[in-house]
Amino acid sequence: MGKISNQVVLQKLSARFGTKILLSSEPQGLLTIEAGRNDILEILTFLKEDGELNFNFLTDITGIHYPERELPIGVIYHLHSFRNNVRIRIKVFLEDQNPSIPTATGLWHGANWMERETYDFFGVNFEGHPDLRRILNVDDMTVFPMRKEFPLEDPNRADKKDFYFGR
């Protein structure tokens, strides 16, 4: 257990941002909030620089794709406060046509590669990122492979056809 409870963190956030915090929940005890694209940088800055909360460590930035939603592409931030031993997860959902969101590289240099990875796999454009190019996949790839519309398996492979296995 951390030194401050999730309720305290949520109260401080609500007091500061009010309705800008769209949703909040606690799956497995991990405080999760949802925010809009325009407020995310402000929220991250507040969480990092507030003297009491002190979420100084950016654990991860990643993405997710829910094709059935109105805003299908999600960008997810995990922050960790070393001082309080508390974690928080912030989700921002974007449209799938050219999703873009302000970069967090101004707050954490570590965000650089995480955002490159999120761009690589989900095609999220991080505005103001100093060097937004693919990091894991081949440079000449034209698709974003972690999106659900992208076929995972190689279409040229015939060795997994059912009739070879009597199915």
Binding site: L136, N137, V138, P145, L152, E153, D154, R157, K160
Partner: protein, 180 residues
């Protein structure tokens, strides 16, 4: 009587003090019994190959005493492990840097067909980028299987015509892969 085995002499005409055979067979014999491996090991199959090179299985028995981790003087490229699409140009470059005559063994399911990694990021078999002579099945293959693959390749090398690498068919094969 020692246990040392020598390579069998090729078919030819034997008499007192002389032995006549075709140059092709002699060269094939020499090549087949000194295939110098270039291990291109990326995953678990590479570990199996290390066992194959070790004292128990002793790949050196077959004249593959010197694994060279460079294309220089290597005849036999052993590709062991998953080759990601990002790795494919590297593998191709290594193959191009090897001098003729050169042979390729694809060891294990990943190198032959992509194996269980039927994914956007993995090359579905190295024969998409370089020509392959012998495929070794298994995931990973035991050292015996790798030895079997090397022996299969030796059979190929023994019987390969000297002119094969200058023939239009071979040029065509390389052209298919966009080499030269």
């Amino acid at each position: 009587m020692s246990d040392i085995k020598l390579a069998e002499a090729p078919a030819g005409i034997e008499g007192s003090g002389f032995f006549a055979t075709s140059l092709e067979k002699v060269i094939g014999l020499a090549r087949a019994n000194s295939l110098w491996p270039l291990p291109f090991a990326t995953s678990c199959c590479g570990i199996e190959f290390m066992a194959t090179m070790g004292a128990h299985y002793d790949l050196a028995r077959f004249g593959s005493e010197r694994p060279s981790f460079s294309p220089r003087q290597a005849d036999m490229l052993l590709v062991m492990g998953t080759i990601a699409k990002k790795m494919a140009p590297v593998l191709r470059q290594v193959y191009i840097q090897m001098a003729e005559p050169r042979w390729v063994i694809a060891v294990g399911a990943c190198a032959t067909s992509g194996g269980i990694f039927d994914t956007y990021s993995v090359l579905q078999g190295i024969d998409e980028v370089i020509p392959v002579d012998v495929y070794v099945p298994g995931c990973p293959p035991r050292p015996e299987a790798i030895l079997s693959g090397v022996l299969r390749l030796q059979e190929l090398v023994k019987t390969e015509p000297l002119r094969r690498r200058n023939q239009p068919e071979y040029k065509e094969l390389l052209n298919k892969y966009g080499i030269q």
